[in-house]
């Protein structure tokens, strides 16, 4: 249950890769050597790692159309773990290398294979693999933070802090914990002394400020609407509940929460909470709450529980028709807000992008409510505001420059294959109806913490496809 080495490699466009951080664990290497015997493959020096890694990930020779090592169709069907081919094809290989790519950063670690080297054991039989994955995820959060794209100097300072982080979470190659996401720990903390009761290991420090329990419930809704009878529209909802006993309740006839995953700090679970699963067919008898989660919270923000839910209708139903006429496109959009959704959007935007076209020229479009916004460089325009009638329309024509200045490209959206993407947020609403009552949060502590609960609905991948063009095949659900 150890890893042999760890690397952080950066890969800027047009430059060769660079090792930003690396760590080897010699005692684990010693074990690797003894386990593999004559088939032992030593880890190469850091100076050759980036090239080997980028070759495996297909990030080299960007200017050449076809390179066999990159384009071979029989390789990399599971890119969970790659192998580094140290002497080119047919030579010695280093396996299994787990990698995580975020932007220009590649994080990689080499778990110890505690098995006879031949034949290659399946990944799930190796304990180190899941530990390596967990460690990499933790490092990713630590290095990149919540935004996912840190400034170069911020990244450099976080990289510089890595040795002391590893001293805590993985001093000798055996992961003990995952690093906390950057910037997530409250400032006023002190190391906790021993007491009468054992302290949970995920709470290494004690908080010295005022105690606050804040429960935020975020539901995301994603949808694919085609506007055709042959293709069924789909949407689903999933939620996150970060931050004692919390009780989650659903309205009287709400559909049950499914696929519930809980944070390891939850101490016990009721069996009925887990039983509903999206892969099952739903019958009316399913458990529908209340969902109780007793837990001992860490100090940082964390995701207590995630779930999915099936709601009967999408919150916004749309139709999009695009027609080509001579040298312009005719657009017709109708969006309807479902009656169960409060018309209290913090923001709501419908973007209508045009790919694989020349740049947009004039846009002659009438909107029933709201203002038209046009982004000529990015080739989209959009607008949205629902009036009292809960229905918004947009109609008109779009002209394109006849020159050779091409707009953005997309492999999917060619011809009349096009979509509208919706971005919206509705505070104090969940589609599933799920909510946390402030008074149901029980805190077993002498200090009376402030309790804050919020909820919101946010869009995620909400697409409405042009019903007059070919929408890409998207899901097998409707056929089976």
């Amino acid at each position: 249950m150890s890893i042999r080495a760890l690397w952080v490699v950066s890969h800027e466009k047009g430059e060769s890769g660079k090792v930003r951080f690396s760590r080897r664990f010699p005692t684990v290497e010693l074990r690797a050597k003894s386990l593999a015997g004559t088939q032992y493959v030593a880890i190469p020096e850091d100076c050759v790692i980036p090239k080997l890694l980028l070759t495996e990930l297909g990030l080299v020779d960007a200017d050449k159309p076809y390179v066999e090592v990159r384009g071979d169709c029989a390789r990399h069907h599971r890119s969970l773990a790659v192998e580094l081919r140290l002497d080119g094809p047919g030579g010695r290989t280093l396996w299994p290398l787990l990698t995580v790519t975020q932007g220009a950063l590649i994080l990689a670690c080499l778990p110890l294979v505690e098995a006879p080297p031949e034949p290659r054991p399946p990944l799930p039989s190796l304990a180190s693999v899941s530990q390596g994955l967990a460690l990499l995820s933790g490092l990713q959060d630590f290095l990149c933070g919540p935004g996912g794209k840190p400034e170069p100097d911020v990244l450099a300072s976080r990289l510089a802090a890595l040795p002391s982080v590893l001293l805590q979470v993985c001093p000798l190659g055996r992961p003990l914990d995952t690093p906390l996401p950057a910037g997530s720990v409250p400032a006023a903390v002190a190391p906790s002394p021993g007491g009468a009761q054992k302290q949970p290991a995920w709470k290494a420090v004690v908080h010295q400020g005022r105690a606050v329990v804040s429960v935020a419930l975020t539901e995301k809704v994603r949808s694919m609407q085609y506007g055709k009878s042959s293709q069924q529209d789909i949407w689903d909802v999933y939620g996150v509940l970060p931050n004692v006993t919390i009780t989650l309740t659903l309205p009287h006839n709400g559909s049950p929460l499914q696929d519930i995953l809980v944070h390891p700090c939850v101490t016990s679970l009721n069996a009925s909470i887990l039983t509903t699963c999206s892969v099952d067919e739903n019958d009316g008898s399913a458990f529908s709450g209340p969902y109780k989660f007793p837990f001992s919270p860490p100090l940082e923000l964390f995701r207590l529980c995630s779930y999915t839910s099936q709601v009967p209708v999408p919150p916004i139903l749309g139709s999009y028709q695009l027609k080509a006429e001579e040298n312009h496109l005719k657009v017709n959009v109708v969006l309807k807000l479902h009656e169960s959704v409060k018309n209290s959007f913090e923001y709501c935007e419908a973007h209508i992008p045009f790919f694989n076209q020349n740049l947009m020229g004039s846009v002659e479009v009438k909107v029933s409510s709201g203002q038209l916004e046009v982004s000529k460089e990015k080739n989209w325009f959009g607008s949205l505001k629902f009036p009292k009638s809960r229905e918004a329309t947009l109609e008109g024509t779009v002209h394109f420059f006849s020159g050779t200045v091409a707009g953005p490209t997309d492999p999917l959206c060619t011809g009349l294959t096009a979509y509208i993407k919706l971005y919206f947020r509705v505070p104090d609403l969940t589609l599933s109806g799920c909510c946390v009552d402030q008074h149901s949060v029980q805190v077993y502590s002498s200090a009376k913490p402030r309790i804050v609960t919020t909820r919101e609905l946010v869009s995620s991948e909400y697409y409405i496809w042009n019903s007059t063009g070919d929408a890409p095949v998207s899901s097998g659900l409707m056929m089976l």
Binding site: R23, P26, T27, E29, R31, S34, E45, C47, G58, P65, Y66, E68, G71, D72, C73, A74, H77, R78, L80, E114, A115, L123, P124, S125, A127, V129, S130, Q131, L133, S137, P163, L167, Q168, P171, L172, R174, P175, L176, T178, P191, S192, P193, G194, K198, Q199, A201, Y238, D259, L261, V262, P264, T267, L274, V279, S306, T308, P411, V473, G476, L477
Partner: protein
């Protein structure tokens, strides 16, 4: 630039490539430098942590032997004890470094004193539970100590078992976050104790109980297990204790460990669960139902390592812990998590992998290969269907899984499912058709490969795929390499080549039907590549290919343009055609084509080759021709290096001509043992010794004005056969020895030529002349090229030749007949200069050892004879001088004091001191020694 910056640069260079870094120095001197700086009180913690990191990551490079490892660990220990209390992070790093050095240099495995002391010290550190004695600030030290002990137990299983009672108490007392570390340490010790017990034949109740009550020293002598243990899921047979032992106490310990397990971090918890599972598997008296109470919590977890540990439990205990219902439920959870929108992509990929290797209660086959659990039905897997919106890894992984699902499914369901997957593949191909980027092309072909691997037998579908691919090729000929690759891979992976052949026929047809304008120069090269591949298939008739080539050549201006690459590509097609089994049917056409090229193509080389192929075609039968082409034209050696080899794409041919390689050692160099007195540098001129007394040093140094004076060391070796060589190599001729240096401390060594080496004759002596820039020990990589009796040339490596420090010693470079007085004067002058710090790299040092009278005389005779300057037996004083090219001196004054022999050392290059020390230590090894650095 500050010292810290210098170190920073130096250490990054080392970490980036230790071998390149050490090429300019040696590991000994780098290690000495590191340790020196670590002892420097002025250096700050930040710098010291950086220095320690080198030892932390590369202990075996810096400490090549167990003895160096032990010394280094001792040095680090003294650094550790001198580091102030508040430098916590530095202290932790030093602790890790000591542990790494001790384990990696086998100090632990060899049970050295150092390792024993270190274990005791670590154990002492962890006694301070809840930080009563040292305070909260020292907590990280304790945490590190626990982790060091755990690693030592892992690498040398069986150390802790006799400490179990003490560890149990510590674990119970600890209530800070460190209880996790203690718990893990205890559990590991417990598991290893039981594992050791399983190898014993009969185990009594008393023995079994005594493991829990162990409270003695570390178990150095007990029957140690192998260095590393395989986890039980990797073992053919799980080691087990005999049944019927009384497990009450163990059971209650296990229960309490499990009850508190939720207090650990998920990663540690998963490790703990795995250890506990192993224990239960080894002790028949413990029931797997112990884990029942934890299952629900584990089923609901969002943590990947905990879920993985649950699957490990499932694998180990199957139906003795998981009922059929549990199994079904777990599998559903897995499918659910494999597509959960709030998990990360790598985690979801991992869960999909877990579905394919799901440990079923009743597996149909028990091989490690991936197979779908019977419970995964198309209904269950519906949400895992691939879509074009998935990222590439997810899409390929889902496709593979779903292919398996529908392959196993009942007919009606399968048809629907397969047609969905087919639609998906078509959607991908459509994206390529719309000018997809390079990545999309690669991913789509991978998807296509997966699909065909499962369904190429379904004729209707595979025909449709071929039609679509050919249709796309007619528009995008740049897909040629991808299509050829696909045909090749499918042919390799499926025993039945039908699909590939069909695809190639389709492509051939597609090229035939293209309107002439599409056969432009650029696209032509793609088409020729495809046709070349098509020509390899014996089942495909080639008439059309030949007609097309002839047609293009006649009706275009290609021949006039005479482009070498195009001509070459056409000839490459022809070469494969020459080998085609049914070429007799189109014999005349091919002959026409070759003749046409040989007459009309505007390019001498192309013409020549066409004529050559024409000759092969018209003069040899098919069997002979393919034989000739396959063997690489054995008869025409002169041709082999010309372009025909490249054109025919048979690089193998060239190997017949070139130097052969043997991986075994054929020859070796054995050092000729010689007396030091025989050695001298090459100067022989008489020096004028009439000068003033003060001038002696100047006279001596004056010699170095002559370029190349005293700059070389000559080493003599016998060139002999290595053991057990092939009789083929008994007589070898015209040997050329080539030397490569592993570092840059020496000038390049010239090649040495030896006429012959016969096994039954006296070995020839080889003089290797080394010219040091820095007189450090080094290693030479030697290779030889030689010829055997049958006239073939061979290349072989010789065993590396290592040049030790004393081998570079030369006597004082003065003419042989120089008077003793002169020598002594020079000695004294250099000594004085060195003692007074001139030049500035000078240093003096002292080395003491004890020995008997006669052995001192022996020692001096055997080691210093040739280097003695004065030998005053009566005064018990000897002066010895080693000259080391290019111009370094090591001077020794050996005096016999009352109780020990003192060796005063002076040198004009302090970097040599570590080598001098280890040299002296080496030769005085049988005496007890003490060292004092000056």
């Amino acid at each position: 630039m500050t010292i810290a910056d210098l170190w920073d640069q130096k250490i990054s260079a080392f970490l980036l490539s230790p071998s390149q870094f050490l090429a300019t120095t040696t590991s000994e001197s780098f290690l000495a430098e590191l340790l020196h700086e670590l002892r420097n009180d002025k250096a700050n913690d930040q710098l010291k942590i950086l220095l320690v990191s080198v030892l932390l990551e590369h202990p075996t490079i810096l400490c090549p032997s167990s003895s160096v490892g032990e010394e280094t660990a001792l040095e680090l220990l003294s650094v550790f004890s001198h580091t102030p209390q508040k430098s916590i992070i530095l202290k932790c790093n030093v602790m890790l470094a000591i542990t790494n050095v001790i384990i990696c240099t086998s100090c632990l495995a060899n049970h050295t004193k150092m390792a024993e002391d270190w274990l005791d010290l670590l154990f002492q550190m962890i006694q301070d539970t809840n930080d009563y004695r040292c305070g909260l600030s020292q907590q990280p030290i304790r945490a590190t100590a626990c982790e060091c002990l755990r690693e030592m137990e892992t690498c040398s299983p069986g150390l802790l078992p006799q400490k179990l009672e003490a560890l149990y108490l510590l674990k119970q007392q600890e209530t800070t976050v460190l209880h996790q570390s203690y718990c893990m340490l205890y559990t590991l010790g417990l598991k290893n104790a039981i594992r050791i017990l399983t190898s014993q034949k009969d185990v009594t109740d008393l023995e079994f109980k005594s493991i829990l009550g162990g409270n003695e020293g570390f178990a150095w002598k007990s029957n140690q297990l192998r260095l590393t243990l395989l986890p039980i899921n990797m073992m053919v047979q799980v080691p087990r204790l005999p049944p019927g032992l009384d497990c009450k106490e163990l059971k209650s310990i296990m229960s309490s460990l499990l009850e508190e397990s939720y207090l650990q971090t998920p990663i540690s918890q998963s490790a703990l669960l795995r250890e506990l599972v192993e224990i239960v598997a080894m002790v028949p008296g413990l029931s797997p139902t112990l884990f029942k109470s934890q299952l629900l919590r584990l089923f609901g977890t969002a943590d990947v390592s905990l879920m993985h540990a649950t699957l490990f439990m499932k694998d180990t205990f199957t139906d003795s812990l998981f009922s059929a219902e549990d199994e079904n439920f777990l599998l559903k959870r897995l499918v659910g998590t494999a597509q959960h929108p709030l998990l990360r992509v790598p985690e979801k990929l991992f869960y999909m992998e877990c579905i394919l290797h799901f440990p079923e209660n009743r597996p149909i086959s028990s091989s490690g290969e991936e197979s779908l659990p019977v419970l995964v039905t198309p209904r269950l897997a519906v949400s895992l269907h691939p879509t074009v919106f998935n990222d590439s890894a997810t899409m390929l992984c889902r496709l593979n899984l779903l292919c398996l699902v529908h392959l196993e499914a009942d007919e009606g369901e399968a048809d629907k499912g397969i047609s969905y997957l087919f639609e998906h593949i078509m959607a991908l191909l459509k994206i390529i058709d719309n000018d997809g980027s390079r990545d999309v092309v690669v991913i789509s072909f991978r998807a296509l490969f997966i699909f065909l691997m499962h369904f190429s037998g379904m004729e209707e579908l595979s025909e449709k795929v071929i039609d679509k691919l050919c249709d796309m090729y007619s528009r995008h000929s740049r897909l040629a390499p991808n299509l050829i690759g696909l045909a090749n891979r499918i042919q390799e992976h499926l025993d039945d080549p039908v699909w590939s052949v069909k695809l190639l026929i389709g492509l051939q047809k597609c090229i035939m039907e293209m309107p002439p304008p599409q056969l432009t120069i650029h696209n032509l090269s793609w088409h020729l590549k495809v046709l070349k591949r098509v020509a390899k298939e014996g089942q495909i008739t080639q008439r059309n290919t030949i007609y097309l080539l002839l047609n293009i050549l006649i009706n275009s201006n290609l021949c006039e343009r005479g482009n070498w690459q195009v001509g070459n590509a056409v000839l490459a097609v022809c070469r494969n055609l020459l080998e085609h089994p049914s070429i007799d049917q189109v014999f005349i056409e091919l002959a026409d084509l070759l003749q046409y090229i040989s007459v009309h193509y505007d390019g001498m080389d192309i013409k020549d080759h066409a004529r050559f192929y024409y000759t092969l075609l018209t003069n040899l039968s098919w069997e002979k021709r393919t034989g000739v082409l396959a063997k690489g034209l054995d008869g025409g050696r002169a041709k082999e290096r010309s372009h025909s080899a490249i054109m025919a794409e048979s690089e193998g041919i060239a190997s017949n001509l070139t130097v052969h390689k043997t991986n075994r050692h054929v020859l070796q160099l054995i050092k000729v043992q010689e007396k030091a007195s025989q050695r001298s540098s090459e100067s022989s001129e008489l020096l004028e010794t009439t000068g003033e007394a003060e001038n002696w040093l100047e006279v001596y140094q004056g010699q170095f004005q002559t370029p190349g004076f005293g700059s070389e060391v000559t080493l003599r070796y016998n060139l002999t056969h290595a053991k057990d060589t092939d009789p083929l190599f008994d007589k070898v001729f015209t040997i050329c020895l080539h030397f490569e240096l592993k570092d840059s401390n020496y000038a390049k060594v010239n090649d040495i030529h030896v006429p012959c080496v016969f096994r039954d004759r006296k070995p020839p002596v080889v003089k290797v002349k080394l010219k040091p820039f820095q007189p450090y020990p080094t290693t030479l990589c030697v290779s030889a090229i030689f010829t055997t009796q049958d006239g073939r040339s061979w290349h072989s490596r010789l065993p590396d030749v290592s040049v030790s420090f004393p081998e570079i010693f030369l006597p004082l470079p003065l003419p042989p007949n120089t008077s003793c007085e002169f020598k002594e004067q020079v000695f004294d002058c250099i000594w004085e200069a060195a003692a007074s710090g001139n030049p500035d790299k000078s240093a003096i040092s002292l080395f003491c050892f004890k020995t008997a009278d006669e052995s001192l005389a022996d020692l001096i005779k055997t080691h210093f004879q040739g280097y003695l300057i004065t030998d005053q037996q009566s005064k018990r004083l000897w002066k010895v001088l080693f000259f080391l090219p290019p111009m370094c001196h090591v001077l020794l004054k050996i005096t016999q004091a009352e109780d020990a022999i003192q060796v005063s050392i002076a040198t004009d290059n302090w970097e040599l001191l570590p080598f001098v020390n280890s040299y002296l230590q080496n030769i005085t090894d049988h005496c007890s020694t003490t060292v004092t650095d000056g």
